[in-house]
Symmetry: C2
Subunit: 380 residues, 2 copies
């Protein structure tokens, strides 16, 4: 099949999910060994609403002078300017070479230029771990293109060279990142004012409150939240999630110079969640914020009416994303939300994403590169 004048365009596509840390990871305790300061736990979101979609293609007919190329959200990106992407691709090529060496009948895909096209259907650099999803989809797509036999767990070690959180986006459910063996530091988003990777190290280096977080607070929380997930105890899960988000942002504020991710709208969301839980007499919802102002709000399916009903009633009709909501009864809990918080949320929230916990990357038959190698503008 693989002739010397092979002109075929080889393609593979994959989507990858966003994941949201509930016990936050931040920074490396040893930059050389790439050891994180603490273990972490995240929740992988369903790809029905948020996902990175990536097609990896390669062909002997792609101009060798162009080298590997990356198109992200319809814009060309320099791979040469991204050492993290280069590192991922180099590892994947090496694994492909191993297969090619052991089976000479295989096409020498490792020698062909790569043309990679990726699209996120969510805002980049907004604290939604867009680059984590992006790197996870990239690694999964290239691994499929190269028909690599490695497991998701093995591939996660490659993906974490791209983004510390990407290894988690290669897994579904509640991926656990335990110390150095699981994953290490990385960069979440490229377009935030200060890259997360820099902020992380600044916090480790300068926050006087950070050592107690890394050394004792997070390890205790990890044990407790794992137990809460095993026991399906949402009350405990909710409290630990919210406390860890607050503690994480507290150490950012304690960084020198300080880093802020939460804004007035974020704080209004925090207030609203506490108000709702107080009114309900139990935790019906829980917030967490990654390195950005967007609130991620968890609730159990059984409380969807009560939680979504309350939030929908205080947001303006201009807020997008409610189409899929089927709210039967709001329980009037929205009355318990502080009016100033409600006003800030009404002004500040432009879009909601209603989604659930989901699985890892999904292989796709529709490609962002045509059979002849042209870049397509939208996923099928």
């Amino acid at each position: 099949m693989a002739a010397a004048n092979d002109q075929r365009v080889y393609r593979a596509s994959s989507t990858a999910p966003v994941n949201i840390a509930v016990i936050k990871y931040w920074g490396k305790r040893d930059a050389t060994l790439n050891l994180p300061t603490n273990s972490s736990l995240s929740v992988t979101l369903s790809q029905s609403s948020l996902r990175a979609y990536t097609t990896a293609s390669c062909s002997a007919k792609y101009p060798p002078a162009d080298g590997d190329s990356l198109t992200l959200n319809n814009k060309p990106h320099s791979i040469q300017g991204s050492p993290r992407t280069l590192a991922c691709l180099a590892d994947l090529r090496s694994l492909r070479q191993l297969i090619e060496s052991s089976d000479p009948s295989l096409p020498k895909l490792s020698t062909y230029p790569l043309r990679i096209v990726s699209e996120n259907n969510f805002p980049t650099a907004a604290g939604l771990a867009s680059s984590a999803a992006g790197f996870a989809a990239l690694v999964r797509a290239v691994a499929d293109l190269y028909q690599l036999p490695q497991s998701a767990s093995e591939l996660s070690k490659i993906a974490r060279k791209g983004s510390g959180s990407a290894c988690r986006s290669l897994m579904g459910g509640y991926p656990l990142a335990r110390d150095a063996s699981s994953y290490s530091g990385g960069q979440w988003c490229h377009r935030k004012e200060v890259p997360s990777s820099e902020c992380m190290q600044l916090t480790v280096a300068t926050s006087t409150l950070f050592p107690s977080r890394a050394q004792s607070i997070v390890p205790e929380r990890m044990t407790a939240i794992e137990k809460s997930i095993q026991e399906r105890n949402f009350e405990t899960f909710a409290e630990i999630t919210m406390r860890d988000s607050n503690g994480f942002h507290a150490t950012n504020l304690d960084t020198w110079p300080p880093t802020f991710y939460l804004n007035d709208t974020s704080r209004a969301a925090i207030r609203a969640v506490h108000d709702l839980n107080r009114a309900a007499g139990r935790s019906v919802c829980a917030y967490t914020f990654d390195a950005g102002p967007n609130a991620v709000i968890y609730y159990l399916e059984k409380d969807a009416d009560c939680v979504l009903g309350a939030f929908k009633s205080i947001l303006t009709s201009a807020t997008e994303g409610w189409e899929s909501a089927n709210i039967k009864n709001t329980n009037s809990l929205e009355q318990s939300i502080d009016p100033r918080a409600a006003e800030l949320l009404s002004k500040g929230v432009g879009r909601v994403f209603l989604t659930g916990v989901g699985g890892g990357p999904i292989s796709k038959k529709e490609h962002l590169v045509s059979e002849s190698g042209e870049i397509l503008t939208t996923a099928a």
Copy 2:
């Protein structure tokens, strides 16, 4: 002079300053013993722009059935509903009784009802330690009325029963509050959403980051900032002040449920200060925030043009308080302020107070109670 049918109205008036903590005190480690969790250091501001003005009066002709009365900013306040005020007045009366017992020729002022009138010329409950200034002026005025011989330091022990910070408003300059012997926990402002005294104890009880702040971080900062003041090293003073403000607000965010005092405008002020200092290549200014969103910005007189010039140029002409500023040359440092921060400040800052470090309470000859005992609406 003191007849049995004494119908005179005795009066004494005093102003007291606002003080701003630079090493923040927050909460008691022992509520019974009233021991603060850590020492603290504050700066007393000049009374030329911000002050509490209090007249204490007493008379045998005041109706005994009315008891002691307090008028604050032209509104009657219940003294019976304020155990802290009752405690201060009881102590001062006891000291007066001691003098009266030793000198029977003195009028028995301790048996007369008190009529106290107080006015703040600054926003209450806005994190400007209004009740600290109020209690300091109250204690000073009653002590003057009773002609008590006690020193400012002795009176501060009474004032701290009213407000933990009030003992500092009885002193000028850089009052130091060392452990339990100096002062203890109190309430800053009555009209903030959550009273400071409650928030303090919530932080002590629930913040996992707080113990390291109280046990090691603040003690180290206290030593370093005292040295910086002695050595007139503004660079060090500035960094410690800003770091302690951030660390203090970080532990509030880490409280369960979380407490927020900083808003988007506060954060814009923080950003602006860092931008200015970076552009200047040294610390020309430093921010600190007490339990409220208002920025207190310190600068040396020699840098007034540069700092005030930059802030004035980004604020709207509607911002009040610039009348006394005489800015010669702005040095164009305002160009270095992030445009979004400048916009937030322009929208969010309604008033500036230009002031300096100042002294303790000042006795006044003009009273808020007339010779015949009527409450006057404004200070002369």
